[in-house]
Symmetry: C2
Subunit: 672 residues, 2 copies
């Protein structure tokens, strides 16, 4: 006994020096997980109700069977929920789970050698080969004992009975019990028990816990309307107010929008104030640019007095809510030279060698009316904290959606910190990144926490461009973290394709935005009235309301306003339009006709659009009937939700014809 202890101790000492792993019997490898962003550095995104399919390579040495579980939990849950994984092929395993509530979920994986399943497989092979398996039954009895120890309810006596059966069957003289034992050993019922009470010895755990950031549903499905409140007055010549905006709400609600986005509503600086059409000099009385934020009346937490008071703004938020709309504010981290920060926090700005604060430049252009905030300041901490306080102030007013102007000119780290910090207090905050810049920079902002992102949609016009871009957004890794928000125009962008003012072109751009992406927005009065005249040579508007107060005819209606109301209603009624990644393109051998199927549950929509705004196009479309469970010789009805027309189609290939002057799209509901 003494000798044994001694040997054991010296062995333990030798093992210590041998760099051995904790458990050398852990045999299963888990790797190449999807989705997984940058090795787990960033969360993927979802909204409640989403089903998340995950996959991993899972395998081990030798010929044993393995079992694998996906482990999932919400940050509030004490325990992991386990989902059995299913073998796909080539050592690839998959599972899926739904996320039910906002917040952070974690997921990871566990897998182990399934000795009992290996034993069951071996039994089947030997029985099929006519071998007698008494030794195997004895081993099976030990497995069944182990399972019985863990079993609950009725399973316990069942497993104890099985163990007894296997033992009796292993006796030489007991042929009836033997036959019953080998039947039970190979039965589905025994397999079920085995999956309920697995051995799990020496299990492998995937090395990381991956995160899913589940936002509230609005992050995934939203319909934005942008307006400048100063242009909301119905009396020409009078500065609009929040009260004027309230009067417009019934009309905007009737058109089906649920986010009312306002460019900055703060006091506007006087120093170097810009005039009409971005003139470097303003005339006395010109209202200035809302992005030239801050005056002696206050900065990012003050309200421009000509719009009303803070109470008026809160009142607007409350009334908008009654109309089913949330008010989104605009965060532009830059100041006018008159902003309080310029006086109180000169350390937040870059100095020129003469000690003055450096205004914005894009050489050779100069923007004397704007001081950019200097994020490399030695006192970056106080700047960050001030920005957080600003967001908390806005949120305290009732704001839960924030559009961020040019986030790509501020450090990524800052956004990651800011968004995660303020969401700790207000988890329902949604940030939209207004970055029109290089693809990897736009992607990075989304990874760092922006719930929605502007896109290149504004410049993707022809069929090939659109199909390529949608494929990138919905089929690559981007689908798991980048939520597109499509805008045909914005108050900054009057795209060349719409500068003709051609009505069918406006319809096309609108219909694409509203049916390709579950999040989209319009630059309100301008777009619906098909404003199109550019500042000469630029993708900007002439007489832009960024630089002056506009008076819009808020009562005018036209084909586009009719269509907007209709399509927004269809978006509310059809779940297939409430998510973006459920997209499949259809084959149409025409370079302008584009068809795409969106399916959610049994809501099956087929959009066919003519991207040629000037010519009638006709072709055959291939309906992905294999995805819809429609047989090749089967007739079915497609119902055009835009026109009320019915068509009877058959099998895969069907005829479509679209005249852009009549209506450039079929929005077909497939009824099977």
């Amino acid at each position: 006994m003494a000798t044994r202890t001694k040997t054991s101790k010296s062995a333990a000492a030798a093992y210590k020096l041998a760099n051995l792993p904790v458990d050398g019997r852990t045999r299963v490898v888990i790797e190449r997980v999807t989705p997984e962003l940058d090795g787990g550095r960033f969360p993927i995104k979802a909204v409640p109700g989403d089903t998340i399919p995950v996959e991993a390579d899972i395998f081990l040495d030798g010929h044993d069977k393995l079992a694998a579980r996906l482990l999932v939990k919400h940050a509030d849950d004490p325990d992991w929920t386990e989902v059995p994984m299913v073998f796909i092929n080539n050592d690839r395993w998959g599972a899926a789970f739904s996320v039910e509530k906002p917040g952070l979920y974690s997921y990871t994986f566990e897998a182990w050698v399934d000795h009992i399943a290996s034993w069951q497989h071996e039994v089947s092979l030997k029985v099929a080969a006519g071998q007698r398996i008494t030794s195997e039954l004895k081993a099976g009895a030990v497995f069944a004992d182990g399972m019985a120890e863990k079993a609950e309810g009725d399973d316990k006596p069942t497993l104890e009975w099985v163990a007894g059966l296997f033992r009796e069957g292993a006796e030489e003289y007991n042929e009836i019990q033997y036959n019953e034992a080998i039947r039970v050993a190979q039965s589905e019922q025994f397999t079920d028990l085995l999956n309920r009470y697995p051995e799990r010895q020496h299990a492998s755990r995937f090395g990381r816990e991956l995160i899913i950031d589940v936002d509230r549903p609005k992050a995934g499905f939203s319909t934005w309307y942008c307006l400048f409140p100063r242009s909301a007055s119905q009396e020409p010549g009078r500065h609009g107010t929040f009260r004027d905006v309230e009067k417009l709400l019934p009309r905007i609600e009737a058109m089906g929008f649920d986010v009312l986005y306002l460019p900055p509503i703060h006091p506007i600086g006087q120093a170097f104030r810009k005039g009409k059409n971005n003139n470097v000099m303003s005339e006395p009385g010109e209202p200035g640019v809302p992005y030239g934020i801050g005056s002696e009346l206050g900065g990012h937490t003050a309200i421009h007095p000509e719009l009303g008071t803070l109470d008026d703004f809160k009142h607007l938020i409350a009334i908008a809510k009654n109309h089913g709309m949330e008010v989104a504010m605009d965060l532009a981290i830059q100041v006018s030279p008159d902003h309080p920060w310029a006086k109180d926090h000169p350390e937040w700005f870059k100095k020129r060698p003469d000690g003055t604060i450096q205004y914005a430049e894009n050489p050779p252009k100069k923007y004397q009316d704007i001081y950019p905030v200097y994020f490399e300041t030695d006192d970056w901490q106080s700047l960050w904290i001030e920005m957080k306080e600003t967001m908390l102030t806005w949120a305290s007013w009732g704001v839960r959606i924030i559009r961020v102007d040019n986030p790509h000119t501020k450090p990524f780290q800052f956004w990651e910190w800011l968004i995660s910090e303020v969401k700790k207090v207000y988890p329902d905050l949604i940030f939209l990144a207004e970055a029109f810049t290089k693809p990897k920079v736009m992607q990075q902002l989304a990874k760092r926490g922006f719930a929605q992102s502007y896109t290149y949609f504004t410049w993707r016009n022809n069929k090939r461009e659109l199909e390529e871009y949608m494929t990138e957004l919905t089929q690559t890794e981007m689908k798991s973290y980048y939520r597109p928000n499509f805008w045909p125009t914005t108050h900054d962008i009057n795209p060349y394709i719409l500068q003709s003012g051609h009505e069918p072109q406006f319809l096309i751009r609108y219909l694409l935005a509203a049916t390709l992406s579950s999040n989209y927005g319009i630059y309100g009065p301008s777009f619906e009235l098909m404003e199109h005249l550019p500042f000469p040579g630029k993708e900007e508007y002439i007489d832009s309301e960024k630089y002056e107060i506009r008076h819009w005819d808020w009562n005018r209606t036209n084909r586009l306003t009719y269509l907007i109301g209709l399509v927004n209603r269809l978006r509310r009624e059809n779940p297939a339009l409430q998510t973006t990644n459920n997209l499949t393109f259809c084959r149409i051998d025409d370079d302008a006709l584009m068809g795409y199927l969106k399916v959610t549950g049994n809501n099956r929509l087929l959009m066919v659009i003519n991207t040629d705004a000037y010519n009638r196009r006709a072709a055959m479309i291939q309906v992905p009937t294999w995805q819809l469970g429609i047989a090749d010789d089967q007739e079915y009805t497609v119902f055009d939700l835009l026109t009320g027309a019915y068509y009877t189609w058959k099998g895969q290939w069907n005829y479509v014809e679209l005249d852009p002057y009549l209506l450039p799209m079929h929005l077909l509901k497939i009824e099977v």
Copy 2:
């Protein structure tokens, strides 16, 4: 003063609670590094002299310029070597470095905002726009001061002069100095200085240090010859010995091989010994299977006495070295029931319910002559350490190459530990994985440390299969960690395609192996003599020397032996054949003619092979002239190194014709 300190303290306290990052001014993102295996979990592989190209996405917010460095060091180096990275496109940066000596190298990345380059760019834009840049020159003087502080040698006074020049140029009255200052600010010389003394403030470091495992050159370029020493006797009927093997060395050396691989050379068990053609019963006097390792004479560290003594084996190793050959041993972790481990370490084996050790099975087949080692034993630590001791013993005999039999039936963790532990003592050890199993398992073994791996080449016969497989090996991530070793046949595999014995087929399979892969091997006497008769219905040999002693005619020569000697000489003389990933396939519009270019330095080889062993094929081949710097109308000479023929070719498309009965390959040296 007191007040300030107080504010400062309370600010520091507030910052502490704010979850702020260490340095919020770190703006550059570094991600999507290639090569990087599983987030840095596994090293990539190289041999001395290899150039490793690396790339990463590197970008930052806003419009500033950035600078990036690749950092590299060998484990013995105290400091990092820095390699400037070059912008490629779309935020992708690249660099390359050479590894010079065996061992572990690390690499990582550092990048920072290059304010001086941003300043220089701004100066250029403003100067081009005719703006006066006095303020910028003052800022430039501060930059130059900072650079001068860090500068060495002549650069110091130069930068001090530059700083002075910028200051003088910034004065209102000094027009000559101003012009000189703006010239210098934009000069290449200033850019050079700036790259030598960068600011590097708030630099971003890539989060991981990635590893390169640099093996000695043999890992990348080796030519294997397998023989069973017991069949080495030149007298029929006598058991071969190590001394007999020594007599064969001049012939094997003349054929150009540099690794002599011997199947297990340990005592062979008697219990359940297999007979000729894997007969379950052996006749008295039959020699048994070398893979049935161990008898009362010893196990994995003993020598089968009929082959000679340990000293004889060491003598063989020494003599082989004189002939330019290394001896590779065969590690099969399994034992005969007579192996000492079965008695001394019964805990290393799995027991059946009756307490006996469980022999190997592949149900319904039984292998009573073999006990597999049970890696899930509670005493796995002592088993692992014994295996390590065994490897160290072999290495102490002078062995530095080990072929591992069926590594895929032992845990991955075990191999990773074993290989890294023994390489700490003998860094020049090379392990070859003999795994013919699922792709991800084979890949995993390579990731865990095997320097070379067997492949599916043995079953990749037609052009399409070969091009697809080579593309997978040389163009995907596998290229960075999986070193293929191509074998047309092995002592275990007589592939169907060679069972006809058709000579051109043997030539084709040989030429493919020897020119596609820098590591290849042949199952010596059998392959060169075109042995081909199968055990009926199987991909195995009839009368395999695994089960009996064969007597080979060691003096016979034929077309194949001639070609082997020639091609092995060409492999030694042409660096392009000494590496595998330098491969480019050429377009040939024929489904059997295959062309591939291999270029290393100015050694340019073009292989054209007819994979149809029965028909003459002719077609035009497209030479990748763009890769070779050959103009479309340029004439050049291709010299067939196999036949001595010269051809004058011109531009891209040239005629090739190959008759498999004459010679199925052109091995063309392109002379430009």
